[in-house]
């Protein structure tokens, strides 16, 4: 197991380095002069201003030196400051991240619960109308734009029924609708996966043995079949976490919620490069870390992987 963990860590390091190079290059890949591009939104700037920002960002130094200086600063937690508000990027991220992670975890939790439940029902009632309805929900779920679902939820439960407040805020009552809008497509994906995985496992010999032994069917499903069918689900949940984390970008805008997503979109609209770089780097690193945890968890659940 230790060797597996070390191997997996060794694979992660180059990815992190690559991500850092790509994020660092963002500014240099901008067609034309990046500093001039930054000022386009605010209606241009004087030559002195441009030179000042260029010096501030260290753009007057050779590229490798710039990258090294940037990397050293980043590892010390210094992501520079926003060009527009002059606030520390790291501080802005720290302020906004809890709200995003709250939304992502709520969306994912909902997706896992709903997905597994629907998947089990569809598999047990295979080829019945319940199965068909579940699968229609599954196909609708992956085809529905999350931001549209969000707007429909606001209209139905916020404006028409007035069950939930639609003003901005991050308390639990205000979390329900964004979490549903964010998690619905993931729930659909998980439901489809649980269904097919469970259907496959239910054909296995050991299930027949359990049934022959006289174990009651619900117990066979939950104790014998579900456990084994959940292995592929763990991987998908890891991948979905990333999807939801970046999907929060849109949902935060729909519900006017505070979060990294809104911070990033604002930075992109204003061409605030240090802030955009900071947000992108941070979200990518969180995702790499979560994937690492999921892979380790995967090896823990399925011993076959450790010995490969």
């Amino acid at each position: 197991m230790t060797r597996y963990i070390l191997n997996r860590l060794a694979l992660t390091l180059p990815v992190i380095l690559g991500v850092s190079i790509l994020v660092f290059s963002m500014l240099h890949l901008v067609p034309g002069d990046p500093v001039t591009a930054m000022f386009i939104e605010s209606g241009g700037a004087s030559k002195e201003q441009i030179e000042q920002v260029r010096h501030l960002l260290g753009l007057d130094q050779p590229l490798p030196v710039q990258y090294w200086n940037w990397l050293v600063k980043v590892t010390q937690g210094n992501l520079g400051e926003s060009i527009i508000t002059k606030q520390s990027v790291a501080e802005l991220i720290v302020q906004n991240f809890p709200s995003t992670i709250q939304l992502t975890v709520a969306g994912l939790g909902l997706a896992v619960l709903l997905g597994i439940l629907l998947g089990i029902i569809a598999a047990i009632k295979h080829n019945s109308w319940i199965d068909n309805v579940t699968m229609v929900i599954g196909t609708l779920g992956v085809s529905m734009p999350s931001f549209w679902l969000g707007l429909l939820l606001i209209y139905t439960f916020g404006i028409q029924l007035r069950w939930v407040p639609i003003t901005a805020g991050s308390d639990l009552r205000r979390l329900a609708l964004p979490a549903i809008a964010l998690g619905f497509s993931a729930a659909a994906i998980i439901a489809r996966l649980v269904r097919s995985s469970l259907l496959e496992v239910l054909q296995e010999d050991y299930i027949r043995t359990a049934k022959a032994k006289g174990v009651r069917y619900p117990i066979v499903v939950v104790r014998h079949a579900l456990r084994n069918s959940l292995i592929p689900v763990v991987t998908v949940v890891g991948l979905q976490f990333g999807g939801l984390l970046s999907g929060a970008v849109i949902i935060e805008s729909v519900f006017a919620r505070q979060g990294i997503g809104r911070l990033l979109v604002g930075a992109l609209q204003a061409r605030d490069f240090p802030l955009a770089q900071g947000c992108v780097l941070f979200v990518a690193l969180v995702y790499v870390f979560v994937n690492l945890v999921v892979d380790l968890l995967y090896a823990f659940i399925d011993p076959r992987i450790r010995y490969e």
Binding site: V249, I250, Q269
Partner: protein
């Protein structure tokens, strides 16, 4: 595929029943014809394509024409889908929006599919350091979840519909590379590739003439479903104000406007979103059918 049929002189061919070899695509078509979901999906796609092409003939109004006196009118016989905040006909805007949506989906997937497939075949065919290099680059792209890679590229290129197509296209590359590489790895050991090598074919010829046709089926499924994903992502980026800019009748950006008037005008939000969903749903249904038809394990 001519390269995969047996030479009549081959001993196995002599024992085979005297039946005309069927092209894989004929079998796929037969299989698709039996799948009701895929057929419904295909019918909707064809309908959407026709409507998009015939937009100037079908649309009742000019999609950009503002009639302020008609602002925010609910659906009526004059305006079937109602009007927006500056009195433009929603139905006409949605019909024209179809053109943009289909273009975005197809161009992004072409970018992703072409680059991704080439990289995958090269990685799988040559192996070694080239394979390692390409796959590590793909790993780095995969470290940016979902929308984030597209957002990163928008950060570089700036907002706009064309940049969205490039961003969504680049974001789609990794999946094609992975599938193309995986299939190439199995195909390159086959006898017909070996025979190509023995007869002195160039690497390029082997890759395009022998390997590409065999890696295509799974990639076609990926591309079909990819169009749906690209449409969703692009609509999302336009919704955020990073894609199509006003007054372009793009479905995602129409939703941004609709949100402001959610309380007064439900139709303003309902119809553009419905248009995105129906399009994506139809493509997904067709894609699912295509996958089932191309999977020999499921073929009865």
């Amino acid at each position: 595929m001519a390269s995969s049929t047996l030479n009549p002189a081959h001993p196995l061919a002599r024992e085979a029943p005297a039946r005309r070899p069927q092209s894989q695509w004929v079998m796929v078509f037969r299989q698709l014809r039996r799948n009701r979901g895929a057929l419904v999906g295909l019918a909707i796609i064809i309908f959407m394509v026709i409507v998009a092409f015939a937009a100037p003939l079908i649309a009742p109004y000019d999609p950009l024409e503002q009639v302020v006196a008609d602002a925010l009118k609910p659906p009526s016989p004059e305006h079937l889908f109602g009007t927006d905040d500056v009195g433009r006909d929603m139905l006409s805007r949605i019909i024209y929006g179809g053109q943009i949506t289909l273009r975005v989906g197809l161009i992004s997937v072409t970018i992703a599919g072409t680059i991704g497939t080439l990289l995958g075949i090269i990685a799988g065919f040559y192996g070694g350091w080239l394979d390692t290099l390409i796959m590590r680059l793909i790993d780095i792209l995969l470290a940016f979840p979902g929308l984030l890679l597209a957002l990163t590229i928008i950060a570089i290129l700036g907002p706009g519909l064309f940049n969205v197509m490039i961003a969504v296209g680049i974001g789609g590359i990794p999946s094609y590379t992975r599938v193309a590489r995986g299939t190439t790895l199995t195909v390159r050991e086959r006898d017909y590739v070996m025979s190509g090598r023995v007869t002195g074919c160039s690497d390029l010829r082997i890759m395009f003439r022998y390997i590409l046709p065999n890696v295509l089926p799974p990639l076609i499924v990926l591309a079909t479903v990819g169009v749906a994903g690209a449409i969703l992502t692009a609509a999302g980026l336009s919704f955020l104000g990073l894609g199509a800019q006003p007054p372009t009748p793009e479905w995602g950006s129409m939703l941004t406007n609709g949100r402001t008037y959610l309380r007064q005008a439900w139709w303003f939000t309902m119809f553009p979103g419905l248009a995105v969903m129906v399009t994506v749903l139809a493509i997904n249904m067709f894609g699912d059918g295509l996958r089932d038809a191309l999977d020999p394990k499921l073929r009865r």
